[in-house]
């Protein structure tokens, strides 16, 4: 009846993900092209485009910080969630939650103030702050996901003779995957915004032009950095939404023999 191919092309052209991605890439690589517009909008400011390092390098450094901190937060957060949902770790549940909550309420600037004297200036204190900050949503979501496994499913898994490890790997983590992913999504999105503060202690991020602009009173720099950070966060969120949808479908879909 309907030809599937043109439909698919049409849908991907209509996808906001594609357009946001293109806009982000264009600004990242070709910000200079906007020089006439910026000159017109901000007369008397020179240079009107941030020059000290290129935006691509700032983005890659920013991405590296967020990715490093998020991978660590995911590994530690999911491991802690698995631990506190086992019978042996149940007693630690409130403790782990409390510690993670404190990590979240601590202002990131304060974390930097504490960690800089310990690990020095640069990327490391930022990484530590992002890691601590990102832990709570991951733990909370992973615990909720693991506890959301229906009791009957759990009972059947034990009764049929799955080992503790098989129950965790084949049943609990599979069913909790969409929840865990949405925790990671929240955590990563927060980290992208928070990482900009790292520029105050010498980490290279898309926040660097923002703080430079504020110090030197150059509004265009602030604007350039802020727009890029915002697009980066939106783009990441959209990508995660895709992955989450895929995981949700997969939670009901067959697992291929090779996965087992």
């Amino acid at each position: 009846m309907t030809a599937p191919e043109p439909m698919r092309v049409g849908r991907s052209l209509a996808s906001p993900l594609l357009w946001v991605g293109l806009l982000f890439a264009a600004l990242l690589l070709r910000m200079d092209e906007l020089r006439p517009v910026l000159h017109w909008a901000f007369p008397g400011v020179s240079p009107v485009v941030y020059q000290r390092s290129n935006f691509l390098a700032l983005f890659l450094s920013h991405l590296g910080l967020v990715a490093g901190a998020s991978v660590a937060a995911t590994a530690v957060g999911v491991a802690l969630a698995v631990f506190v949902t086992r019978p042996a770790g149940n007693d630690f549940r409130t403790t782990v939650n409390a510690i993670a909550a404190v990590g979240q309420t601590f202002p990131p600037a304060a974390v930097l103030a504490i960690t800089v004297p310990i690990v020095g200036f640069g990327a490391q204190p930022t990484m530590v702050a992002l890691f601590l900050y990102g832990l709570l949503p991951i733990i909370e979501n992973a615990v909720a996901g693991l506890e959301g496994v229906p009791p009957a499913v759990r009972e059947a898994a034990v009764g049929l003779g799955l080992s503790a490890w098989q129950q965790l790997r084949d049943i609990e983590l599979r069913l909790a995957a969409p929840m865990i992913l949405s925790g990671i999504r929240i955590s990563v999105t927060i980290a992208i915004g928070t990482a900009t503060i790292g520029s105050t202690v010498g980490a290279l991020t898309l926040g660097t032009p923002i703080f430079n602009g504020l110090v030197a009173n150059k509004l265009p720099f602030v604007l350039e950095g802020a727009v890029l950070v915002a697009l980066f966060a939106i783009l990441t969120d959209m990508l995660f939404a895709r992955v989450e949808r895929w995981a949700q479908q997969r939670a009901k879909l067959p697992i291929s023999e090779t996965d087992r």
């Binding site: 229906p150 049929l160 049943i171 697992i255």
Partner: protein, 307 residues
Amino acid sequence: MIEIDNVTKRYGERLVVNHLSLTVPAGGFCVLLGSSGSGKSTTLRMINRLTAIDSGAIRVCGEDVRDVPAEVLRRRMGYAIQSIGLFPHWTVEENIATVPRLLKWPRPRKRDRVTELLELFRLEPERYRSKYPHQLSGGEQQRVGVARALAADPELLLMDEPFGAVDPITRDALQRELEQIYRATAKTIVFVTHDIEEALRLATQIAILHEGQIAQLGSPLEILERPANDFVSEFVSRQGLGLKLLSVRRIADRMRADATAEGEPLLVDTPLREALSVMITRRVERLPVCDIGGRKLGVITLADLVR
């Protein structure tokens, strides 16, 4: 086959199973019957070690269940529960093949076994094999749940109120299927229920549990005819007793071999209750009886039913 030897379980102060002993012979269909809190599920769950035994011992084929690693033990026993607990992210085929997969059966053997079981439960294999649990009706889900319990062909099947949550018509069909499977495979079955009719229909041996102890152990007929104490007679209820007796006795018990009658014959192992029902609907007092091959064996009369 299963020896439950002086077993006790307490939860805090409460004695849930109280020095209970019970032997289920190989090939027996033992129904643990009782109201909620009688200890029937706890007793069942101690057999596959889902619940720890406080004192006493349970032996299966002479082997203490605590001498076998819990997972190995459970893979040797089928287990089906009221809430079914199908794995929602696996297809019907993957659900049924759970234990064969744990036992690392080769793929063609798993597939053949799934086909065989789906056919046994009258679920067309090619239509059902790749469906997901949420696409099935309650009765279909329970069939898949029981099929999953039977998948690795265990000698022993443990069932905890498996038909408690389905509608009466589906329950009747499932009971009939289980009866057929039991007769065809001669498995040893331990079945928990609070439904006396279900117990009378399925069991070869009924253990009525009350406050963690066996109030009476016997065949369905013994339980109905000679209740051991007031509790049992109240539990099985005098109401409709005559019909209950008719439902556990079969035509073979009352048939006359030296006569003939007109009409469509009944099978010799039909319950007397069904024979009565047929007499009423056909407005006759005599029915011919045949064996499974259609050979005429004799008659059953209304007078024989009340004898």
